[in-house]
């Protein structure tokens, strides 16, 4: 039951897997915004989320990875797909894509990218070389303790928010039967 770091449990080929998973994430991000068919975009997003779960695993956060798969990929994206499939999209697909603002978009993207690069270059000293490695086998317990101990108030507020959203959705969508 105790999965302390045993001799056989050293991480393997970290660099390779990092580049692979982040490559998948980037690729899926590109597909999300370039596909014409919105269902394809949603599926590419699912793929990217699964790759991200892998990245979480590499950061020794297995609980977050599991929850990412269950909730994000298996719940939220399914709802996305429901909406996409129920709304009649063929009409909108045939319409011309509105891209007359591509110049402004490009300038904004370049500006944002430049901001990121500047922050990284100037503030490199602030980023630690290696973050403290969380203990993997108690990840769930640590999150639980924090969530229900230190951040209890925020947790309750978040759940109340979700409850309000659910009730609002039910009220708005409720018709006869």
């Amino acid at each position: 039951m105790q999965q302390a770091v045993q001799p056989g449990m050293q991480p393997v080929a970290t660099t390779f897997f990092f580049y692979l998973l982040s490559g998948f994430t980037l690729l899926s991000g590109v597909f999300v915004i370039t596909r014409k068919n919105p269902v394809h975009s949603a599926l590419a997003l699912i793929f990217g989320l699964l790759a991200q779960a892998g990245l979480y695993l590499m950061l020794y956060a297995p609980f977050v990875a599991g929850v990412q798969i269950i909730l994000y990929a298996g719940g939220i994206m399914v709802l996305f797909l429901f909406v996409i499939m129920l709304v009649n999209l063929e009409r909108s697909q045939r319409e011309e894509q509105f891209n007359g603002q591509w110049v402004v978009g490009l300038l904004a993207a370049i500006a944002l990218g430049g901001l990121f690069v500047t922050v990284y270059v100037k503030g490199k000293a602030l980023f630690p070389y290696r973050i403290a490695q969380p203990v993997e086998n108690t990840n769930t317990q640590q999150i639980g303790l924090m969530l229900y101990g230190q951040y209890m108030f925020a947790f309750e507020i978040a759940s109340l928010l979700l409850l309000v959203a659910i009730i609002g959705a039910v009220v708005m969508a409720k018709k006869r039967i």
Partner: protein
């Protein structure tokens, strides 16, 4: 060369699963074993379902293809492979292609963490149960994709209904699972045994859950009776709805107006859906067995202890196979004595001989000891499979709105109630 053999040998004295021990070779071996075993199990399920359903309906089921229809699944597989591969005209080819594979992938990947014994699992993640729930929820995506790719109104509605049903019952399943996980953090003797305050270190790992049941000397089914039983009941109902089986199989029933999501699929693709469905059934049954039924431990592991009892229970696998061989030989005796039936009679006798041989091998002490855990786990899962078939024969179908009502308005409140009561009892007792 010596290094390779050393690498292979190094695992044999470890008390961890291959994944945990980091041994790639044995991990691959276990993966192949699980894959092959699962495929054989699905084939056997196909035959068993048809025979058991038939016998419950006062008829015989397949009898022609092979003795007593034993070769029927193979005939079905060949037929499905040879069928014309139809794709609807305007269907989205990529998604149409990928959807069955997603379902099968999700169903098979779940078995990475299923524990057949204390070290007999491919790996033992410390988020084992979370991983299983997560990956099995990915099969919903496959269903939605299949309905969408068929480019037809009725399969789409059927797929959306099917996936709405699966998602709803995942919530109820989650509640029941959390109740069981809560129980792993308790330490005490017996269901209401007085103990020091619970140690608070529960676990999500599958092997850990089973070992917690052993340490607490009670299967979680009987813990805090009837709470564990109710939680198990909620999971048992939700898992039937999760896998779209009777009585929750409205989305794939033929006599209803809306067709199922796999309407447009023919041949091999359709068989992949069925493969995924059976594998998912076995997967959720494995979860139920692990969480509530004590996993690989034999019945009465803590009340009937001692070497003699161990010996008695260890004879079960061999006896069961010998019993099956006896049934096969009774069938041989009852075969019609006609030249046309000669091949079938010989085939059945051979099958009975193979079963008997396996039974005899299972009596040999080294094999007997190693096979114990796997046997009890598989026996319990087989019990669930029989229940699945029994449900299909007995119950009418729920209408879709009644189905959702049961999931949200009955199972979920009871699940939350059981969770709260379990938590209270766990702290108080």
């Amino acid at each position: 060369m010596g290094q390779i053999i050393q690498y292979i040998q190094s695992y044999r004295h470890s008390d961890l699963t291959p994944g945990a021990a980091g041994n790639m070779f044995w991990a691959l071996v276990y993966i192949m074993l699980v894959f092959v075993g699962l495929s054989v199990a699905v084939i056997a399920m196909n035959w068993l379902e048809r025979k058991i359903l038939a016998h419950m309906q006062v008829r015989l089921g397949p009898m022609r293809v092979g003795p007593h229809g034993l070769l029927q699944p193979i005939a079905d597989a060949i037929k499905l492979l040879l069928k014309e591969d139809i794709m609807p005209a305007e269907a989205d080819a990529l998604i149409f292609w990928v959807a069955p594979f997603v379902v099968v992938l999700a169903a098979f990947t779940v078995f990475v963490v299923v524990p057949f014994g204390p070290t007999h699992a491919i790996t033992d993640m410390n988020i084992g149960i979370l991983f299983m729930l997560g990956v099995s929820s990915l099969s919903v995506l496959g269903v939605v994709m299949a309905g969408w790719a068929s480019n037809s109104h009725y399969p789409l509605i059927g797929a959306l209904r099917s996936s709405a049903q699966m998602v709803s019952y995942e919530v109820a399943m989650g509640m029941a699972v959390v109740s069981a996980i809560l129980m792993t953090s308790l330490h005490g003797l017996g269901p209401y045994g007085v103990s020091a305050a619970s140690s608070g270190t529960g676990t999500l790992s599958m092997i850990g859950i089973v070992q917690a049941q052993n340490e607490q000397h009670v299967w979680f089914l009987f813990k805090f009776f009837p709470l564990g039983f109710i939680a198990f009941g909620i999971f048992a109902i939700a898992m039937v709805a999760e896998t779209n089986r009777a009585p929750f199989d409205l989305p794939e029933a033929e006599s209803e107006l809306t067709a199922g999501f796999h309407t447009e699929y023919s041949g091999l693709r359709w068989s992949l859906f069925m493969l995924g469905e059976y594998a998912a059934m076995i997967a959720v049954s494995s979860i139920a067995v692990t969480l509530w039924l004590g996993g690989w431990y034999r019945p009465f592991a803590n009340s009937l202890t001692g070497d003699t009892w161990d010996l008695v229970f260890s004879l079960f696998p061999g006896l069961i196979f010998l019993g099956l061989a006896a049934i096969a030989f009774v069938g041989v005796r009852r075969m019609p004595k006609h030249p046309y039936f000669r091949v079938q009679t010989i085939g059945l006798a051979g099958f009975g001989a193979v079963l008997g041989l396996i039974g005899l091998i299972l009596f040999v002490p080294p094999v007997r000891d190693r096979i114990q855990d796997i046997f009890w786990f598989v026996a319990k899962v087989a019990g669930f499979m029989y229940l699945y078939i029994w449900y299909r024969a007995t119950f009418p179908r729920y209408r879709f709105d009644q189905l959702m009502k049961v999931g949200w308005k009955v199972l979920l409140p009871i699940g939350i109630g059981v969770l709260i009561l379990t938590a209270i009892l766990g702290v108080v007792l």
